[in-house]
């Protein structure tokens, strides 16, 4: 077992454990015996080329897709063969932010945030409103965003509102699918900062799919590279730079990868 192995020693506090995962659509194999471990309290970035199966991996872990083979353990429980009650209990402990926010378009932002509370808990109405208000403030939405409908929000605000809904039940685990794609660099940096702060204050474990090299550098504790239908390597960016694989080298040591490195002379080489 080398330092960049996707699996961690048994002693570690592991939140997500994937073993031998096989996903296929028809004859096309997406994942071929993929392994991955995610530690409690870390932000793990998932990178890989387009079509390498990053989103499919996330969908398999959160149960939106039934894998052909393999084990998926979350919080030490078998998520694949869980009965309905356990699965529901597990769902309460994680939040998911989809790429475009996936807000319910017929509900306001505040109502969107209250949906999971209504579904899972019996809280008094005023308390739900209070908590929704707090979540809106916490994710940095403007105070007047609560009664707005998703169609009235900008892309960045939709993502923040989606994040507020994902955090509605105070999950311990957060799945983010390309949270900064489509945002301008300033909003993207602010979103990165928000996730970092939330992780520190709430003690979240974050599973982060991204293409954004700046995000990887700024907030990820470890990065998992998906390629050749497996997790090729997991480690810090510094460790991955020494990993001898053409795609990984191209990704982190290519012009954009170099430009995103902290302290890199920005855009000098490009110009």
């Amino acid at each position: 077992m080398n330092a960049l192995s996707p699996t961690l020693p048994d002693g570690d506090d592991i939140v997500i454990r994937v073993r031998g995962l096989v996903n296929r659509f028809g004859k096309q194999v997406i994942h071929d015996h993929l392994d991955l471990d995610v530690r409690r309290g870390e932000i793990i970035g998932i990178v890989g080329g387009s079509g390498s199966g990053k989103s499919v991996l996330m969908r398999a872990i959160i149960g939106l897709l039934t894998p052909a083979e393999g084990e998926i353990g979350i919080f030490g429980q078998d998520a694949r063969n869980a009965d309905a009650a356990t699965a529901k209990e597990l769902r309460r402990r994680w939040g998911v932010l989809f790429q475009e926010g996936a807000l319910f378009s017929s509900l306001t932002v505040a109502e969107n945030i209250e949906v999971p509370m209504r579904e899972f808990l019996h809280l008094p109405e005023p308390l739900m409103a209070e908590l929704a208000g707090y979540k809106i403030a916490m994710v940095g939405l403007p105070a007047e965003a609560g009664p707005k409908y998703p169609s009235e929000l900008s892309g960045g605000m939709k993502k923040r509102a989606g994040l507020a809904r994902a955090l509605s039940l105070d999950p311990q685990l957060l799945f983010l699918d390309e949270p900064t794609s489509g945002l301008d660099p300033i909003s993207a940096a602010a979103f990165d900062e928000l996730i970092k702060v939330l992780k520190q204050t709430l003690g979240l474990t974050v599973f982060l799919i991204t293409h954004d090299l700046d995000t990887l550098h700024a907030i990820c504790d470890r990065v998992a590279v998906i390629g050749d239908k497996k997790v090729l390597a997991v480690g810090t960016i510094a460790e991955l730079l020494l990993f001898d694989h053409p795609w990984v080298q191209e990704y982190f040591a290519g012009p954009r990868g170099r430009a995103a490195r902290p302290g890199a002379p920005k855009a000098v080489e490009a110009a």
């Binding site: 808990l121 019996h122 929704a132 707090y134 916490m138 105070a143 105070d170 709430l202």
Partner: protein
Amino acid sequence: MVAASFEQLTGPGTVQRLAVSGPMTIAHIADVVEPLRAIAPTGSALVIDLAGIDSIDTTGAWIIHRLMATWSAAGVPATVENASEDAQRLITEVTSNDIEVALRPLAGNPVTARLSRIGAAVVAMSDNIGSFLGFLGQTMVVLLQTLAGRRPLRWNAVIHQCENIGVNALGIVGLLLFLVGIVVAQQGAVQLRAFGGEVFVVNLIGRSVMRELGILLTAIMVAGRSASAFAAQIGSMKLNQEVDALATIGMSPIEVLVVPRVLAMALMLLLLGFYGAVMAVIGGGLFCWLSLGIPPVTFVQRLQEVTPLSDMIIGLIKAPVFGIIIAMMGCFQGMQVSGNAESVGTRTTRAVVESIFVVIVLDAFFAVFFSALGYN
């Protein structure tokens, strides 16, 4: 399941103490919120003892923060003690985000709100009529330019639409009108039997179906099938910015999307209307033969005698007009889609409802018009 709980103590002097224990998390908080908030602020100070809590999340921290804020606002300084590092961090975090946040739209005065809704609806309706007229004009211009040969006619699209609108509807339209023919014959026979005039059923079928029912029912069926399809197709293209893409490439969306549909619909409704009328006559004739004992040969002879050719021509003149209006309604509502997927649904519904409504209104106009011309 362990629930959150608290104990109220009076400390040294008039200092109030609240010892909170158990899980202060969103799943377990519901029971303690109300009693905690029900305690009226008294004494000289409040100390909240968090030594007994075994877990806390932002919701628990929020409750404690609000409690302290309420007591402080009432003039009783509040503090926490024995807070774990997590609890302290979370309380600091929620405190920093306690701002006034709007959650519900302002309700306002119910009378003025109602009036403003009515006003908005009237404005929206006149806007809608205005934009439909605009759309109608634009389409007419493009249509005339196409017919005059100044724009290419997209034959592939026309043929494809003809298949969707016409050929694929043969089954359902035929069955529907066949059944309507039987029903008209049967109900008519019941009434006419009282006068001993069962043979006049042929007049009833021939005239009503050829002139009115055949084309009207076909048009309603096609409006339900195809106006909705047009609105949904063009609406999703609009959402997906495909319509914008067409325009930027330099292709007119009206020319590419609307004109082929309008032409195909006008042609197909003409053919389908005739086919529907024939199916209804067949249904009625079958009923006459099997139930009233009028043989097919007699039925056809009598049909020829009592149904003037003008009935069929009037029926068929209406068909392309209905077709054009149905196709335009569908395309117009599709073009009006904006914002989100929900608006595709609303616009599709409106396309169907409004096109059926307009078809029936136009049919009434045609009836009055042709009567006034002396075609009875």
